[in-house]
Structure formats: structure tokens, C-alpha cells
């Protein structure tokens, strides 16, 4: 296809697509700019001020969680949190951890949604300068009894997607859980966690350092296409059948092959930067695309940015500027690099790791630069299509929400329904049919693979006895009845699982999967869960170092999913010879899960 898109075409697109920005937010933007926003600006604010990017409904609550501790090297705020692990051969080693959901995409296109969820979480860890050393997944599915049901299809395809992506990039899947509850019939949950290893002195931050004015912005990875257009807003809207056409635009196509090569090329670039003692900045592209990533990378360093959209490597010619700016195409990273290093970086990605041969028009390309002036400017073939204050762009306005004052304990939602009882057989059996699809031992560092114990353990530093344990927890049955206790229990259970293998719990991550924050009772559940997390974490003196909020998880009748605060606990092990585990389960054709995962 070689159709050229005229400016008129893109304006028509705007009117057709529904933006998630509220009328009040649009007005605020127009006031701040002193003029009507351009189409590109509307899309940019729509992405940047979405719940997904800004946590506008949840920030105030999340501030209550403890985030400090002697092991915390980097708390929440960047792509991943960092905890001190231990010393080996005179080097201080740290564990990097990130935890996210990919719920809504996984409901619509389960294989691709789950796979891109893994892709995204891996980039969050990678961009901190770390080697990615482990994965975990927490899955919540609906009533899967009918083999022809959508729920069964989702349950099967999500696992296939996680397995296809994680296995191909060569990161062992060492922990996770799965539960079934009818409350997830129309809204499954896919939470993924990634672990990384980095020397403390080699951590790469997601902001341009003080000497970064004039640095080049290097975009690396897959050619931008329209496939992920509108993803940030997408994950912040409830799914409904009428909206299906609108949702289609947000399908992201996973390419684990490209990611495998991109990861290794990025390792090579970081090694080169460390060898030359250069501090660069890096951030992965997620929701908000080139715009969201570059704006945050530069704004958080106190700079502005100027980007020429026509330099972005595109999958098809003639993509409108708003797609180039905010399209969510997977497998892309952005680096801020001093100019003298750019040529070498281009050589690594384009020639040594042959990105253009790995995927169509994949490559590294300089798309713009870091500016002293704190504006965010996008041009497209010489036209300025966006020019805004970068602070204004990256600081979404708070949303004040009201919560129901009634207790959010719902004893009436206790188990006892036919479906609930029937699903017990899927909830109370070995997880072997599921986890045998995940490569749990690639990298050769696995000490306790999935199925051997409550927590997975890796010994990520060759020649060192240091180990890292990881476990996840969160009981949806309890969540449906008592969100606060469920959240509290999720913390305690994740911690117990890590203790059970003989590791010392050192930090937590959370993903808060809840309903519609604009509904008082749903929002009350969310607040109650934060109460629970806060109480348990403070009593155990453990910090949250990373996390994610997924809201608007509700069915077509407006019922929220069972309150799901899913918690991961990271454990440190000084000497892996002291850990404890058991035997994995043998394959068993009579296992109910073997119906779903034969």
C-alpha cells in the first residue's frame, strides 16, 4: 500500500475515533495553550493524561504505601524498582523488578495481548541497564468449564502467548499462579513480573542527566505502525461489545524474535557505555509511544525535547503524525546519548545486530534531540504539529474521586454459587499442565524452577552463591468478599512463600486490578485494598518498589471483577546451598487443568 495521507484524512480520523479525554480536560488544554490544540496535541494529551500513563485516579492513594528501606536502591517512579542484593567479587549487585498488567488487551486478543504484556515488562527491566533474569505471571480466568467458551479460549491463549514470548527471548519463567472465578468471565487478568540483575554502579536511569542538553534521542526497534494506535486510552476504558470496532485498532503485534535480538543489542550498547564511563538515559516505549517516552525521559531530567516525526522508521509510508507520535508499536526503546557515541550505537543496532533484517524496517535512528528550553516540540516534514510546555504535558491533573463510605466488605459475594463450586476443581489441582509450557530453566541459573516450591529461585551471578527468590499471591475469592483482607493476605502469602524456600524477603511489588474508579463502590474496594497493602507491608517492614494500577476491570453489566491486589515478593539469598524445595508434580492426564492445557 502506498497511499499518501493528506492532512484532511487525519482530521477525519480524529473525529471518528473516540478519545478518552474528558471535556474538562480538553478545555484545560485549550486554556493552557491559548489556542485550540492541534490533532496531534489532542492525541498526545489523551495518551499522556490517561489513567494508564498518569495514575490520575490512584496516585493519591498509592502515596500511602511504604517505599523506603535499607535495601531500596530505587523506589517507585521509574520503569522498575531496584533492590540491593549483595556483594560478589567486590561488586555491589542489585535486583531490578517491574510488575504490570495487560488485562484488557488479553481479553480481546489473548495470545497477542499476553505476549506483548511480557514484552513490555521485559523492556521495563531492560531499560534500567539490567540483564533480564526471570519472569513470573499471575493469571485470573473466568468460568472455563465449557470447552467452546470464550473464557476457555482466553485461558488457553494467554498461556500460549506468555510461553511463546518468554521462551523465545530466553528468560526463565520461575514463579506465578492461576485462579478461576466467574467474576473474571468478561475480564481476565494477566499480570506479569520481570526480574533483572544489575551492578549498582551500572544502573541506567530513565531521565536525561544534567549534562544532557543537546544529546541525541535514538529510537531503536520495530518500525512504527498503526497497530497499537490508541492503546493507552484503550486500557483505561471498559470493554464492551459496541466498542469492539474501536478496540480493534489497539492490537499490538508481538515479535519476540526482534525482542530477543533487541535485548542482546541493548546489552552490548550498555557494556560499551559502561566501558567508556558514559552515563546515558534509556526508557522503553509503552503507552503514549514516541511522544510519551521522549517527553517523560526529557521532562524528568529538567529538559525539553524536539522530535522530527518524519525521521521515525515507519512500517508503511504516509502514516499521519499522530500515529507516529503516540502509536504503541511494540519492541521499541529510546536512548538519550551524547552525540559522540551515536555513530557507534547506530553501528551496534543496525550492522552488528542487523535489526533491518530481523523485522521490516526495524532499526536505530536519531529522531530528535534534548533541548534546554522546556518545551515539547514535534515537527512533521517541517510543520510544527505540537508545541507545548513539557511540564504541563507530563503532569496529568489529579482527579478527585469519591468513595462509598460504607464498608467494602461483601459477605454476600462469598463463594457458594454453582459456578464457584464447580470451578473449585480447577483451583485445587496441580498447576503442572500450565507451567510445563513455560521454559523455567533457560540461562542455566535456575535453582528452583516452577513447580519445585512456593517460590522460584535463580542464582543469577555465575560464580556467586547469591540467589534471588520470587513469588506471587492474591486470592480472588477473598477479594470478592473482603478487598482489604485479601490485599493484606496477598502481601503475607507472597512473603511466606519466599520465606518457605529459605530466602529473606526484601521488597514487594503490587498490581492493583480493580473496577471503575468513577463508581463509588468500586473505588471503595480500591481504597480498602490499599489499606490492606499498607497495613501488611508496614507490619512486616517491607517496601513496595514498583507497581501498577489497572482500573476499569468490569463486565458489560457494570460489575467489578473480584478485588485483585496481586502482590509479588522478592527474596534475597546469601547462600543458595541453604535453600529448600521439593519435587515437581508428575504429568497427570486426570488433572482438570489438562483439559485446558493438554
Amino acid at each position: 500500500m502506498h497511499t499518501k495521507r493528506s492532512p484532511q484524512r487525519s482530521r477525519i480520523l480524529i473525529e471518528l475515533d473516540s478519545l478518552a479525554l474528558s471535556a474538562g480536560e480538553r478545555q484545560r488544554i485549550a486554556q493552557a495553550l491559548g489556542r485550540p490544540p492541534t490533532p496531534v496535541e489532542l492525541y498526545a494529551f489523551d495518551a499522556q493524561w490517561s489513567e494508564h500513563c498518569s495514575y490520575k485516579s490512584s496516585r493519591a492513594q498509592l502515596r500511602r504505601l511504604p517505599t523506603e528501606g535499607e535495601r531500596v536502591v530505587l523506589g517507585p517512579g521509574e520503569d522498575a524498582g531496584i533492590l540491593y542484593l549483595g556483594e560478589h567479587a567486590g561488586e555491589r549487585y542489585c535486583v531490578v523488578v517491574a510488575h504490570e498488567s495487560h488485562n484488557h488487551p488479553s481479553q480481546v486478543v489473548p495470545f497477542e495481548g499476553a505476549a506483548t504484556g511480557v514484552g513490555g515488562i521485559v523492556r521495563d527491566v531492560l531499560c534500567m541497564g539490567a540483564r533480564v533474569i526471570g519472569l513470573a505471571d499471575a493469571l485470573r480466568f473466568g468460568d472455563v468449564r465449557d470447552p467452546a467458551s470464550h473464557q476457555r479460549h482466553v485461558a488457553r491463549s494467554v498461556v500460549d502467548g506468555i510461553s511463546a514470548y518468554g521462551n523465545a527471548i530466553g528468560v526463565p519463567n520461575i514463579a506465578g499462579d492461576v485462579s478461576f472465578h466467574e467474576g473474571f468471565n468478561e475480564n481476565a487478568l494477566v499480570n506479569v513480573i520481570a526480574l533483572g540483575l544489575v551492578k549498582e554502579k551500572e544502573i541506567v536511569r530513565s531521565f536525561v542527566p544534567p549534562n544532557g542538553a543537546g544529546w541525541a534521542l535514538l529510537l531503536v526497534g520495530k518500525a512504527t505502525d498503526a497497530s497499537g494506535f490508541g492503546g493507552a486510552s484503550f486500557s483505561s476504558l471498559s470493554l464492551d461489545a459496541e466498542n469492539e470496532t474501536a478496540n480493534k485498532g489497539a492490537v499490538q503485534v508481538p515479535d519476540p524474535f526482534l525482542k530477543n535480538v533487541l535485548m542482546r543489542a541493548t546489552y552490548r550498547l550498555f557494556d560499551m557505555l559502561h566501558a567508556r564511563r558514559i552515563t546515558a538515559a534509556c526508557k522503553d516505549l509503552g503507552a503514549g509511544g514516541v511522544m510519551g517516552c521522549s517527553a517523560e525521559l526529557c521532562a524528568s531530567g529538567g529538559f525539553g525535547a524536539r522530535i522530527e516525526l518524519n525521521l521515525v522508521n515507519a512500517a508503511v509510508p504516509g502514516l499521519p503524525p499522530e500515529v507516529l507520535a503516540v502509536g504503541e508499536t511494540q519492541e521499541r526503546m529510546l536512548f538519550a546519548l551524547p552525540p559522540e557515541i551515536v555513530e557507534e550505537a547506530l553501528r551496534i543496532f543496525n550492522e552488528e545486530f542487523t535489526l533491518p533484517e530481523i523485522a521490516y524496517n526495524a532499526r536505530a535512528v536519531v529522531v530528535g534531540s534534548v533541548t534546554r528550553e522546556r518545551r515539547y516540540v514535534l515537527t512533521h516534514h517541517g510543520d510544527t504539529v505540537m508545541d507545548v510546555d513539557i511540564e504541563f504535558l507530563t503532569k496529568a491533573p489529579f482527579v478527585t474521586l469519591s468513595a462509598a463510605s460504607t464498608s467494602s466488605c461483601h459477605p454476600e459475594r462469598s463463594r457458594g454459587t454453582d459456578a464457584g463450586n464447580a470451578l473449585a476443581r480447577y483451583n485445587n489441582c496441580s498447576r503442572e499442565p500450565l507451567y510445563r509450557r513455560y521454559d523455567s530453566v533457560v540461562r542455566g541459573c535456575t535453582v528452583l524452577p516452577r513447580g519445585y516450591a512456593d517460590a522460584g529461585v535463580v542464582a543469577p551471578i555465575p560464580g556467586s552463591r547469591l540467589g534471588v527468590a520470587l513469588a506471587v499471591a492474591g486470592d480472588p475469592d477473598l477479594g470478592a468478599r473482603d478487598p482489604q483482607r485479601a490485599a493484606e493476605d496477598a502481601v503475607r502469602e507472597a512473603v511466606r512463600k519466599v520465606l518457605a524456600v529459605g530466602a529473606q524477603p526484601i521488597g514487594l511489588t503490587d498490581c492493583l486490578n480493580f473496577g471503575n474508579p468513577n463508581k463509588e463502590d468500586h473505588y471503595a474496594d480500591f481504597i480498602a485494598a490499599v489499606d490492606g497493602l499498607e497495613r501488611a507491608a508496614r507490619s512486616l517492614n517491607l517496601p513496595f518498589v514498583s507497581g501498577n494500577v489497572s482500573l476499569y476491570n468490569e463486565d458489560s453489566a457494570g460489575n467489578a471483577i473480584p478485588a485483585s491486589a496481586i502482590v509479588a515478593c522478592i527474596g534475597a539469598i546469601d547462600d543458595i546451598s541453604r535453600i529448600d524445595g521439593g519435587r515437581p508434580d508428575e504429568p497427570d492426564a486426570a488433572n482438570p487443568l489438562a483439559e485446558i492445557y493438554p
Binding site: A168, R437, R583
Partner: protein, 256 residues
């Protein structure tokens, strides 16, 4: 002068680090050779193709990598008697390139490690492989004891040996099946084979015994820390278990 071992990196390889590590821990002088440096391969004495998903196994497992520029040197080297070890995806590539079982005079593929059966899914399972030929049949296994039983991980979606019927006879009669799947006690039966592989085959060698294509990853159960029963005290970091295969390989390289 020590004989150098090249660990090949294809785009999509994912088991390169542990493979290099175990070769070095077993005394091998091993290093990576990247796919853009195919011309450097000739100077190496032996080759290891590690696991992964070269080109994401698009078209078929190993199909595209079998035509990589690096494979010309590997094919020539195998013809000269150099040792070639392919693990998992590396094994699939060797079959696609016709180097194992190597029964076609023009190096055409005569067999494949293809999708598992009965279910066509990826499996990750701890297994044992048992030496199914006399150790000297394959130079790479020459230092192993008879009936050697080696722990390893099957981690593949395409590990089932398949070929036309007459070719399976040739493979069996020509003693090309170097390893079969076995239980922990050494018993060989259908239940020990996790993927429906013909002849219970876990590894194939070529006529001259200088090429070994093995599906399970012995390098993932190759240190004490990888195996609960061996996870003890002062030796937790030492090579063990699956490392015997690499010791035998390194020894074979040194006398080749």
C-alpha cells in the same frame, strides 16, 4: 596451542551464556562467534550451536538458520572431521542442514526434529538421556561410560524425531541414535519419552560420529546448584550432572 571452540550466535539464539559457561568450566577454550562474523569461523577447531529460536523458527524449526552464511563453514568443517555439537535449536538446525543424521550424499535433510506429539505444545520437563551406542561410536561421547545416563531439560516444542519410514530404518541400522530418553533409573520406555520422538530418540549422530545433534539441554542441569539432590554445601557452584557431556566434548576437541 589450545584448540578453540566457537559457540555460534544466530539471531534468536537464547541459550548462549550457559552453553559458553559450561564449556569453559569444563576446560574448553570457547568463545562466541556472531552471525555477522561468519568468516571468522574457519579458524576454530570445533563448533557448538546453542539452543534458542533462531529466526523464531519461522517456516520450520531451524529452517532459516540452516541457510545462514555460518553454516557453509560448519558444513565444510564437519566434512573435514571437525566436531560439531548442536543443542536443541542447534540440533534442529543440524538436521535441517542435513549434517545429522547426514545420510543423504548431497547434505539434504533426511529427518527433522519436529512438533511434539501427541500435543503440539512446548514442554519444559526434566528428563534423563541414556547413551544408546557404544561411547566410541561418536567422538563427542567417547569419554562417557557405556550406558551413560545424563540429566537434562527437555525444553522444546519441536523435539520429536520424524522421517520417512525407510529413513527411520537407515537411522536405526546405522546406529545414528546416540541418546534415547530414559527414566531416572535408566529404564527406557515410551513413558520416558516426553515428545513422541521416533525410536525414543533424544540425539542423532552422523555416519562419521563427529556431529551430535541433541534435543535436551544438559547445560541446564550442569552445576550442583541446578539440581536439588546435589544442592549441597561447599560444592554448590561446581559443574556436575549434565556437565559430563561437555567434559567429553572438550576432551574430544583437545585430541581431535
Amino acid at each position: 596451542m589450545s584448540k578453540r571452540i566457537a559457540v555460534l550466535l544466530f539471531p534468536g539464539t537464547n541459550s548462549e551464556e550457559e552453553t559458553l559457561r559450561i564449556l569453559r568450566d569444563c576446560g574448553g577454550d570457547a568463545e562466541f562467534v556472531h552471525w555477522t562474523h561468519a568468516s571468522a569461523l574457519r579458524q576454530y577447531a570445533a563448533y557448538v550451536l546453542p539452543g534458542g529460536f533462531a529466526h523464531e523458527d519461522r517456516i520450520r524449526a531451524g529452517a532459516i538458520a540452516a541457510h545462514d552464511a555460518m553454516m557453509e563453514t560448519i558444513t565444510a568443517g564437519a566434512g573435514e572431521g571437525k566436531l560439531v555439537l548442536g543443542i536443541c535449536n542447534g540440533a534442529q538446525i543440524l538436521l535441517e542442514a542435513g549434517l545429522a543424521p547426514g545420510t543423504h550424499p548431497a547434505r539434504q535433510a533426511t529427518a527433522a526434529f519436529t512438533h511434539n506429539a501427541p500435543e503440539r505444545h512446548f514442554i519444559c520437563r526434566h528428563v534423563y538421556v541414556k547413551l544408546a551406542v557404544e561411547p566410541s561410536r561418536c567422538a563427542i561421547t567417547a569419554s562417557l561410560p557405556e550406558d551413560a545416563l545424563i540429566p537434562a531439560w527437555a525444553a522444546h516444542g519441536d523435539g520429536r524425531l520424524a522421517a520417512r519410514e525407510e529413513e527411520l530404518v537407515t537411522i536405526e541400522n546405522g546406529r545414528h541414535v546416540a541418546f534415547v530418553y530414559a527414566r531416572a533409573d535408566g529404564t527406557v520406555d515410551d513413558a520416558a519419552t516426553p515428545n513422541g520422538s521416533a525410536l525414543g530418540c533424544a540425539a542423532l549422530t552422523n555416519r562419521d560420529g563427529n556431529v551430535l545433534a541433541i534435543m535436551p539441554h544438559a547445560e541446564r542441569d550442569a552445576w550442583n546448584l541446578n539440581h536439588l539432590a546435589r544442592l549441597t554445601g561447599k560444592d554448590v557452584l561446581a559443574p556436575s550432572g549434565g556437565s559430563v557431556l561437555f567434559e567429553s566434548f572438550v576432551k574430544a576437541v583437545s585430541i581431535s
